[in-house]
């Protein structure tokens, strides 16, 4: 789904892209991303992290291959403390917060409406893209301390 989404946006604009698998282990993710950046540094204009582990590894990868924060624009999933911290530190430009409770509760409410014969007919937004100015809010939420 995610790669299809990338294609529907990029293809009409003539933007070339490559999707690469990163695995589930952070050490291997960092190793593969570092290899890829070493090989393709001059061709990479931007990075989209399709997964929290990937986006949350950007700082470690950039440090390993000696890329300064901001040299390559990065966006991606942002439901991890690592990513929120990377946004604050300018390694990641923007990250996607998807509220876990809203995603499940509101979707079930919609399903319950549909089951009881009320067609929803509308979408519910359960996430937002956050940048440096709002990253501290989401970092606090994920650390369990709330934004107070």
């Amino acid at each position: 789904m995610e790669t299809q989404g990338v294609e529907t946006v990029f293809k009409p604009l003539g933007i070339t892209y490559e999707v690469t698998e990163a695995k589930l282990d952070q050490a291997e993710i960092i190793s593969r991303m570092s290899d890829y950046l070493t090989a393709n540094r001059n061709r990479i204009q931007a990075i989209i992290g399709l997964g929290d582990l990937v986006t949350g590894s950007i700082k470690r990868v950039f440090n390993q291959v000696h890329i300064k924060p901001g040299d390559i624009p990065v966006i991606g999933w942002g439901n991890s403390t690592d990513t929120a911290q990377e946004v604050l530190d300018s390694y990641v430009n923007a990250a996607m917060w998807q509220d876990p409770q809203a995603t499940s509760y509101l979707a079930l409410s919609l399903a319950a409406m549909a089951a009881s014969g009320i067609p929803p007919g509308f979408d519910i937004t359960v996430g937002t893209l956050y940048e440096k100015d709002k990253a501290a809010t989401y970092l606090k939420i994920m650390e369990g301390s709330g934004d107070k």
């Binding site: 589930l24 050490a27 960092i30 190793s31 090989a39 390993q64 291959v65």
Partner: protein
């Protein structure tokens, strides 16, 4: 001079060594970045963590057994250590020792079930893989453990980084080489090494000659488990992350490294230097195919195909070697 050359060529690890030279030469020719300091540093960052597990696995496989639970222990041990530390239950160093002790216990259970209950190591360690992975997921509710705030002499000792220009190396490389030297000595120059090879080559004959086969195997299961735990903790400190899914499928990759290095799957034969070459062969291949521009999603196809090709070539070289050609 001729006898020296014949001696070198007759070594079982000569075939993999030739493959390694060809691989390095090939990737160097195809990608100027391959031998760059940055890429060599990347390559050497992750290699010791898998390499350590492969060294211990070599001894276990020479004794005729193998352990499928090493990948799950690689993920589980850091979870134990960081959970204890983050919950302020123990200092980091004590958490480290507790994680290693848990690994020793798991290794003992594996060894005891294989040698006393006579259950094949494939089944025992497959079951243990699921138990250990499941425990890691249960303990963490599936979430990674935080490791950022830890700063201890232990972390610097295990993975401290030395940088010269663009080239950087972690202390884990030195520990890997030291571990290789010690285990290589044990396997080839000690009575324990004779026991290990005898236990894998002909267990009945070994028993008849007084070798304590079950005891030897239990110790090797414990060694394999504790080194897998150590490697996992090393990795978690280096990447500042402890994820319950870490190490998934590493067991198969490690067995492939050991077999490519010349260790027989049936036991009785294998060398540490061969395994080091096998580790380098596979890791360099994984690095090199990215550098030469293999498409990202086709990565596993190439890795699998190249492992098969290398095994076939290795087998052919060994058959030629045995027939004296």
């Amino acid at each position: 001079m001729t006898s020296f050359f014949q001696n070198v060529v007759s070594k079982p690890q000569f075939g993999p060594f030739v493959l390694l030279i060809c691989e390095v030469a090939g990737f160097s020719a195809c990608s100027p970045a391959f031998l760059s300091p940055g890429n060599v540093s990347n390559l050497l960052a992750f290699t010791p963590e898998l390499g350590m597990m492969a060294l211990a696995m070599t001894l276990l496989m020479v004794s005729g057994e193998f352990d499928l639970s090493v990948g799950s222990l690689f993920g589980f041990a850091p979870i134990v250590m960081w959970t204890l530390y983050n919950a302020h239950i123990t200092p980091l160093e004590i958490g480290f020792l507790v994680a290693l002790a848990v690994a020793v216990l798991i290794g003992f259970i594996n060894g005891w079930m294989v040698t006393r209950l006579k259950i094949p190591s494939f089944l025992v360690t497959l079951g243990m893989l699921l138990v250990v992975r499941g425990t890691a997921l249960y303990l963490t509710s599936g979430f990674p453990q935080r490791t950022w705030t830890a700063d201890s002499p232990l972390t610097r000792l295990m993975v401290g980084e030395f940088t010269i220009g663009q080239f950087s190396i972690h202390a884990s490389v030195l520990w890997w080489l030291l571990c290789g030297a010690v285990l290589g000595y044990v396997l080839t120059h000690s009575r324990a090494g004779n026991w290990i090879q005898a236990a894998g080559g002909n267990p009945d004959a070994a028993r008849a000659r007084g070798v304590r086969v079950p005891f030897t195997k239990i110790l090797l299961f414990m060694l394999t488990a504790v080194i897998a735990a150590y490697a996992g903790i090393t990795s978690s400190i280096r990447v500042s992350a402890a994820n319950p899914n870490s190490g998934t499928q590493y067991e198969l990759e490690i067995i492939a490294m050991v077999v490519i290095g010349g260790t027989a799957l049936t036991g009785g034969r294998g060398t540490i230097i061969g395994t080091v070459i096998g580790v380098l062969l596979l890791r360099i291949m994984q690095n090199g195919i990215v550098l030469i521009g293999i498409p990202g999603l086709a990565y596993n196809i190439f890795i699998g195909a190249i492992i098969l090709a290398m095994m076939a070539l290795h087998s052919w070289l060994e058959r030629r070697h045995r027939t004296g050609v």
